[in-house]
């Protein structure tokens, strides 16, 4: 089962996250790391959700990840898609779609990497099998 090419909504962006989307335009996938407690997190916040320090900095992630779980959504007006959580090499897990693949062959633990898809605004990060 292959997904059709889909039109994705452009991110609205806001002052807290605009740097993420500017980097995405350069093909860079960013996470935030707290320099006080050392913990990375996703999606990005200005104040660390763990220790509540405001000493958070942007960091380019490798884009390497593994599938934590997924589900093939078969009933959708825009065609089937694979929603998933992937765990980044750097630690944080995030929600995404697994794209450009045979969705029937996806497995938990499978290695994936980030790939950006265009929108009318900044591109959106997705993941695809390595």
């Amino acid at each position: 089962m292959m997904a059709e090419a889909k039109k994705y909504p452009a991110p609205v962006t806001n002052p807290e996250t605009v740097a993420f989307w500017e980097a995405a335009k350069q093909g860079k996938f960013m996470i935030k790391r707290c320099t006080a407690c050392g913990e990375p997190h996703y999606f990005p916040r200005s104040i660390c959700p763990f220790c509540f320090s405001d000493k958070t900095v942007w960091e380019e992630a490798s884009g390497d990840a593994t599938i934590y779980t997924f589900s093939l959504m078969r009933k959708s007006a825009t065609g089937p898609y694979a929603i998933a959580y992937v765990t980044l090499k750097e630690g944080p897990s995030l929600q995404t779609n697994i794209v450009d693949c045979d969705m029937d062959k996806l497995k938990i633990g499978q290695k994936v990497k980030v790939v950006f898809k265009p929108t009318d605004g900044a591109p959106l990060p997705f993941f695809t099998p390595v």
Binding site: S71, M73, T78, Y85
Partner: protein, 443 residues
Amino acid sequence: MTASTIAHTIDLIARVDQGLTGDDGGGDLQSSRLTEYFRACQASPDRPEKSWKQETPAENDLTIKGKAYIAGIYEHPTRHAPDKSTAQLHAEVAKGAIEDAGLTKADIDGYFCAGDAPGGVMNMVDYLGLKVRHLDSTDTGGCSYLIHLGHAAEAIAAGKCSIALITLAGKPRTGPMPPRAAGAEADFETAYGATTHNAYGMCAMRHMHDYGTSSEQLAWIKVAASHHAQYNPHAMLKDVVTVEDVLNSPMISDPLHRMDCCVVTDGGGALIVTTPEIAKSLKKPLVRLIGHGESTKGPRGGKDLDLTHSAGLWSGPRAFEEAGVTPKDIKYASIYDSFTITVLMQIEDLGFCKKGEGGKFVADGNLISGVGKLPFNTDGGGLCSNHPVNRGGMTKIIEAVRQLRGEAHPKVQVKNCDLAIAHGTGGLLGVRHAASTCILERA
């Protein structure tokens, strides 16, 4: 303690030690208290010799135990209401619950509603023509009404109101539901298309991966609900189904089939919650709240993602601890059944069995009244009877009260039903959700 109960306790303590606490930090459930709690729960593999009823009631004012009674219940019989407004349905269920209690609208001095109430709490108070001194519009999706019940008990215990009305109503079958307000995560999640089906599907997929849970085991949950629904004249789906029927129904979002999903219904329900004194002056059998817990769970910055546990892991023990009872004492369980996996995960998290053994626990009719050890959702639940406004918490409380009153259908009424649990989740189990647990007792 048996080896398996010790393993269970160690597993839970390990989870807490790893930082798998609720969004509220797990609070009062740090390791030592959790150890103590589960030791008490599982000291004996059988029912404790000393009945929970013989325990001395808590003298502490800092509890809602026994301080609020459910005096009125009403579930709207409709499942499709194109000829009614949503506000009208709220009024009809309010009227039904007030009449069930033997009260009048003028007696109501507290009102509780959630996001399904048109215009919110101010507009509904005006529409219904209420005069109240206490308001609460906590919205945690489908479990809002379980939280409302706990909050109503708190308000009554504190003297903020004496007769509280809680309403739920809406019409998802008739027309589209209003969109949910966007959270801070919107740009980072909305485009990926998380829906109820696939968010719960992702939980089921990981549960199967980690614990070997099977589609056949999940199907047993639907089979049990259908056995109960056949006796409910208002149930949307009255046919008894088999495990094969569930497995042969179309796949919606792997690994969940159509029959793993609940029904979509128009309708609603309402409760009247009041003081012990007022409840005793009325004519209905007495049912009181003796324990309540609430919690939330989400991805929390993506650290240690865990989709096989729900926030019931924290709301449940809080409620059991306040009530002074354990899962082994429970005679009837209303467990929110938006999907079969929802039931399985919550049964584990509430301590009815070890994490990962929910599949074995629910199989072979163990949830069927008169057949299994844990009769659940004897009205047919959300899987077969009713899931008004895509919010199942209200009907969970209502059927638990029917059981404690002895008013359930004779074919599904649990004998000598004197202790029940009503538990639910709201939001998306696989994304961000809340949970609430209420322990109810026949007084």
